[in-house]
């Protein structure tokens, strides 16, 4: 059969994507198809209980049994991925793996068994994903967009808090207050069940009061609960909200539900509500955390979000598929970088100028480097932060930049990306990458090439901004045979720039095979 004959014109096809989430008490996967207009249609949602969190939080390591169980489940998932012919998969792991001493072994076993490359994500990444999915779901429909909204996601290992102001993330932080950790306390308590629940409640309240210094809770008018246990509550005592993916639970019914659940052993919860055992065990502690927030905030109801971090992952993949990007997220990342620069008292104006020029170069040379939007963003962030090392000392400040950036959280970038940004910044001056640079060599070849390509642009931009070409508006770029010609308006003397270029254009010439020439416009 000749497929081309039968389908001469193919309409743009939907792409099937999947998000895999290795959480603290369960492995989950969503398979969805993404349409050319960015619409996401979930096809399958899967979940299997594995108590990775219990191992990690008790002993600091993942146990052999749970690792084996997890690998077996992921093998099943792989089957389903093959069945749907999914090529774009994002697999992430959160606190249970992040905090485990033997995470690498685990991830390697997964890779060998399934070919899945699991990425460990930090709490801020978790928050960001959850919140972006939430904002997407809410659209412009709710107060979330206007007022101060607190999003709380009680996980097995930690509770993630995100404060939104007018739909933008103001702060996010994570508490070491997870349902599994709390359940451990309950299970090992010698006290009567009622008494231990009481202790748990007091303990939770105490931890929450420490938050108050960093989060202005009194301003919060909307409380959004994300996470499976909140969804359980919504399913039983919630009512539908104006938005399809949200439900509203009023405080009174929530308290009643919790009182009922507190009185029941996990076995009874399994029987009564059809919950998986692992979820039944951690239900009460998780609900107590939500309740404590509800009381602390003094609100009459909470909004329960049916979207999760996995929906955030899907959303990001949808952007990749459609080539669209979430402008708000990029903005958030840039803001976060600028805030970091400010913290280390970097020259903001210089940073912005270098960034502008570097991005001009990036866009002009698109065909030569072949890099995409995400890399452009990394260059942007690196340009904004390249001088933060000067905060430590002007001497070898590029190395300090690397160190500071690599050890910071930049909202919206994952660990690998932060390392790339740190290395681009590190190579903004002095030696280009060399085989003797251990941190550089530790990266994959592809990543090294990306760093070289981006660092080359940063170096040229930095060299030019040193001199007169500060105002990027006044320059234009052209290509003349093997030269990249930069025209600067109203300047004839390029001595300073030439000197800087002599020191810094080496990497550019190597990478792009072009010399940089300056001319008066």
């Amino acid at each position: 059969m000749q497929p081309n004959e039968t389908t001469p014109e193919k309409p743009p096809a939907a792409e099937t994507v999947a998000a895999v989430d290795i959480g603290t008490n369960a492995l989950r996967m969503v398979i969805a198809q993404v349409f050319p207009d960015g619409t996401i249609e979930p096809l399958e949602r899967l979940q299997r209980a594995v108590r990775l969190g219990q191992d990690t939080f008790r002993r600091g390591r993942l146990g052999g049994q749970s690792m084996t169980a997890a690998v077996a489940i992921l093998r099943d998932y792989r089957q389903l991925l093959n069945l749907y012919r999914v090529e774009r998969v994002r697999a992430v792991a959160t606190s249970a793996v992040r905090e485990a001493g033997n995470a690498d072994t685990f991830l390697d076993r997964i890779f060998i068994a399934t070919g899945l490359n699991v990425e460990i994500i930090g709490t801020s990444e978790e928050c960001r994903l959850t919140v972006s999915a939430l904002l997407q779901a809410v659209g412009s429909a709710m107060e979330v967009k206007r007022d101060a909204t607190l999003v709380v996601d009680v996980g097995g290992g930690s509770t993630l808090l995100t404060l939104l102001q007018e739909g933008e993330i103001v702060t996010s932080l994570s508490l070491r207050l997870g349902a599994i950790r709390l359940q451990e306390v309950l299970a090992t308590s010698e006290e009567s069940p009622q008494r231990s629940v009481e202790l748990l409640r007091r303990n939770t309240a105490k931890i929450l009061s420490t938050v108050q210094t960093s989060l202005p809770l009194e301003r919060v008018t909307t409380f959004v609960a994300a996470g499976g246990d909140a969804r359980f509550a919504a399913h039983h005592v919630g009512r539908p909200a104006a938005v399809a993916d949200l439900a509203v639970v009023d405080a009174e019914s929530f308290d009643r539900l919790l009182r009922r659940c507190e009185r029941q052993a996990p076995e009874e919860l399994v029987k009564r509500y059809g919950l998986p055992f692992a979820e039944a065990e951690t239900l009460v502690p998780a609900l107590i955390v939500y309740q404590t927030f509800l009381r602390k905030l003094g609100l009459k109801e909470m909004v329960v979000s049916h979207v999760s971090m996995r929906d955030g992952l899907l959303l990001e993949m949808a952007y990749e598929v459609t080539g669209q990007h979430d402008e708000a997220l990029v903005e958030g990342i840039v803001h976060s970088a600028m805030a970091l620069g400010e913290k280390y008292r970097a020259d903001a104006e210089h940073a912005r100028n270098v960034a502008d020029l570097a991005l001009r170069l990036f866009d002009f040379l698109r065909a030569d480097h072949g890099l995409g939007k995400r890399q452009r963003l990394l260059l942007h962030v690196a340009a904004l932060l390249h001088e933060v090392g000067a905060f430590v000392s002007a001497r070898a400040h590029h190395k300090h930049s690397h160190y500071l950036i690599a050890n910071s959280e930049i909202f919206g970038l994952n660990r690998d990306e932060i390392e790339i940004v740190a290395q681009i910044a590190r190579y903004h001056r002095r030696s280009p990458p060399k085989p003797s640079h251990a941190e550089y060599m530790a990266l994959s070849r592809g990543t090294r090439v990306t760093i070289s390509k981006l660092a080359a642009l940063l170096r040229v931009a930095d060299a030019l901004v040193r001199g007169h070409a500060k105002e990027v508006r006044h320059i234009s770029i052209e290509r003349q045979e093997d030269d990249l010609v930069v025209f600067v308006a109203g300047v004839a003397d390029f001595l300073l720039e030439q000197r800087a270029l002599a020191l810094k254009a080496d990497l550019f010439e190597d990478v792009y095979g072009m010399r940089v020439r300056l001319e008066e416009a």
Binding site: A13, R48, G274
Partner: protein, 721 residues
């Protein structure tokens, strides 16, 4: 009103006795003079096959309870012993009526030239023929057993005929004859002593032995021929008496098997092991020789209650052959061939039709072929990625199984959930399950302790622009043969939410995932009982004196106590409850202050009523659901079942009309009285026979469509139904 205790035993009808009343309704059809003779014969054979299964499973389990001295009472307050006694009485009465019915039909068949001759009726020519026939074709295949001499006693298989005889050495027997005699090998025995011998009737020989005759069809029965010639098997012996008998044994169902687990859970394992395969019933030709009867009762440890003397033919199931054999068409019901489904008229691309909207199928009025077509097309379609299906009972050489094999051979991912615990079909199931495996299908055998009873099919197809998922959900099995005999409903759809639910259901079955919550369907055993109770409670809430609530339900059985209690509460609250329950109904209607608003009818007609349909008025926002589950404890507690809504308003209306057609029936419908008996619905107004009306509507729909379409283009000949 609130003072009534809804748990009190007098509000419940015993499950076994209610089932027997159902079998009695089948018997009524067999006795009905309005039906063609061979059609009646068919019903009379069903009475027997039904009873066989009932004794093998239910009576066997009650006897297990009795052996274990379980005194637990059922919801109607009966102990196992009381139930067994009542069952025996009822079945004795039923068997007598059935036998009379068969005799009457045999007599009537003679006028049409069909003769079944009893042993006493053979004339000399026939006797001669049979003697020759016996020694030539039957005798070589017989294995007589001199049972008294055997140690251990042989285990006689259940559901087969045996001839027992009392023999005694004839005076002046030869030495040669002595050597072949039953007593041979046991040394010195009293030569005058009577011995009991048993001759199993071979199962691979035709039960009806054709007798040569110029006019009409004449038959003798195989067991009679053997009984007549027992003496020939023991040269030198004479036959003093013969009797034909048939055993029914404990089917040895495991406790995990849900058909009797309600009774067996309380029985100790040791007792179960001891009674394994025990004989629970013996049918024997009427007025047997005292010695034979006593001997067999001792052998099989039976009491008088367990012995059923039958005047005419033993094992009426064999009559199915007579009823089904070609010829005598005027003595059979006219055929009602399945019609092309209404929702598919004018459709030539099933995929496209489904993308445009849901398709409701009503078998056997409408053909099951579209379901087979969907599978067959999916198997050959290069765009289909995967097929997932549950198979509970399917026919041996089923086009469904063949399509799945083809699909796997064509490289598609095929997952089949085979339910091997489908009662009495195990051997058949194992065969084709292996065939599917050989073809490369991923065959799963269900979840431990739960029978997969849901009927679901999921097809994932990559089309030009996107993935589409096609779903079929139904009340009946993927069995093209029973789909011509059972009345069932099915839905084909492309609905995303339903598809996501069904995909999740398969992930649950395959162990890929735990339950992640459902958006449209409800699943047993986790939430279905509660869902039914909630739906009934909601109806109670919505009911007002001006606008009383209304529940219409059609199910095979109603036995779950919690559902029954909810229905009692509904009746008390003024909700009108109309039930169409074909089989067991433990709810007692018409009890003052409890169930005055509940009306129960049952319809037994040519098609086995099998669809489960549930309607709730819901304050005007009517809801209609279909399900694979009956309102029985086993369905809601120990089976994987699906309840799904019908969302297309026109299809919802159609289902309400179908339900009302049944309630309007005044030909075949019988109404359950408060005392547990059933009586024909007294016919008011025009005569309505639901099944006939439904069939005519299916024909009419096709005729109208042809009329409409003919003007534009000829309608393609319907695919073979």
């Amino acid at each position: 009103m609130a003072a009534v205790n809804l748990k009190s035993p007098e509000l419940y009808i015993n499950r076994e006795l209610s089932w027997l009343e159902f079998n009695d309704r089948v018997l009524r059809e067999g006795l009905s003079p309005d039906l063609p003779l061979l059609e009646r014969l068919k019903f009379l054979t069903i009475v027997s096959s039904n009873l066989d299964e009932f004794f093998m499973v239910r009576v066997a389990a009650l006897k297990q309870q009795r052996s274990a001295r379980v005194r637990r009472r059922d919801p109607s307050g009966m102990t196992p012993v009381a139930q067994l006694t009542a069952i025996s009485q009822r079945v004795h009465r039923m068997t007598a009526e059935q036998t009379e019915g068969i005799a009457a039909i045999f007599a009537a068949l003679r006028e049409h030239g069909l003769f079944v001759h009893g042993r006493s009726e053979w004339d000399e020519t026939q006797r001669r023929f049979l003697r020759a026939h016996f020694s030539r074709s039957i005798n070589p295949l017989l294995t007589p057993l001199a049972v008294e001499d055997l140690d251990p006693l042989p285990v006689l298989p259940g559901l087969q005929l045996h001839v027992a005889a009392v023999v005694r050495r004839a005076a002046g027997g030869t030495a040669e004859a002595r050597a072949a005699a039953p007593a041979a090998g046991t040394g010195e025995a009293d030569p005058a002593a009577e011995r009991i011998v048993v001759v199993p009737v071979p199962t691979h020989l035709a039960r009806f032995v054709a007798l040569p005759d110029d006019e009409g069809l004449h038959f003798a029965l195989l067991e009679d021929v053997i009984a007549e010639h027992v003496a020939a098997l023991f040269p030198g012996y004479e036959t003093l008496a013969t009797a034909v008998f048939r055993l029914t044994r404990d089917a040895d169902v495991a406790i995990a098997d849900d058909d009797a687990s309600d009774l067996l859970q309380v029985v100790e394992q040791a007792v179960i092991a001891r009674r394994r395969r025990a004989v629970v019933r013996m049918s024997i030709s009427a007025r047997p020789d005292r010695r034979i009867r006593r001997h067999l009762m001792q052998w099989f440890q039976l009491e008088n209650d367990d012995v059923y003397e039958v005047e005419g033919i033993l094992d009426a199931t064999a009559l199915a052959w007579l009823a089904a054999r070609p010829g005598f068409e005027q003595l059979k019901s006219t055929d009602w061939p399945p019609q092309p489904p209404r929702d598919l008229l004018g459709s030539d691309d099933l995929w496209q039709t489904l993308r445009e909207g849901d398709v409701l199928l009503f078998h056997p009025y409408e053909s099951f072929q579209p379901v087979v077509d969907l599978l067959t097309e999916a198997a050959e379609d290069p765009d289909v990625l995967t097929i997932k299906q549950t198979l509970y009972r399917t026919s041996g050489d089923s086009p469904v199984v063949r399509a799945l094999e083809r699909a796997a051979e064509n490289g598609k991912e095929v997952t089949v959930l085979v339910e091997l615990k489908a009662r009495f079909d195990e051997a058949r199931n194992v065969g084709w399950a292996r065939r599917l495996e050989d073809a490369g299908c991923h065959v799963l055998y269900g979840i431990a302790g739960l029978k997969t009873h849901a009927k679901a099919l999921l097809i994932v197809r990559r089309e030009a622009d996107r993935l589409h998922r096609y779903v079929h959900l139904a009340t009946g099995n993927y069995n093209d043969r029973t789909a011509r005999l059972y009345s069932d409903l099915g839905l084909m759809t492309c609905d995303r939410d339903l598809a996501a639910d069904v995909a999740a259901f398969f992930n649950l079955l395959t162990g890929y995932s735990e339950s992640v919550g459902w958006s449209r369907i409800t699943v047993a055993p986790t939430g279905l009982r509660q869902r039914f109770v909630d739906l009934i409670e909601r109806e109670i809430q919505a009911s007002t004196p001006d606008r009383p609530g209304l529940i219409l339900a059609k199910t095979n059985s109603l036995q779950d106590v919690e559902v029954i209690r909810a229905l009692y509460r509904a009746s008390q609250a003024g909700v009108t409850v109309r039930l169409n329950v074909r089989g067991i109904c433990c709810l007692r209607p018409g009890v003052k202050g409890v169930s005055e608003n509940v009306d129960v009818i049952s319809i037994v007609d040519r098609f086995l009523e099998h669809a489960r349909v549930f309607y709730f008025r819901n304050g005007g926002h009517e809801e209609v659901y279909l399900s694979s589950a009956d309102w029985m404890r086993r369905n809601l507690s120990r089976r994987l079942e699906i309840l799904f809504p019908i969302v297309v308003p026109a299809q919802r209306r159609r289902l309400v009309e179908i339900l009302n057609t049944y309630f309007a029936d005044n030909v075949k419908a019988r109404r359950l009285a408060s005392d547990g008996t059933y009586h024909p619905v007294t016919g008011k107004g025009r005569r309505v026979r639901a099944q006939e009306k439904l069939y005519r509507e299916a024909v009419e729909a096709v005729r109208l469509a042809e009329q409409n379409i003919e003007r534009f283009r000829p309608l393609a000949r319907p695919r073979n139904p």
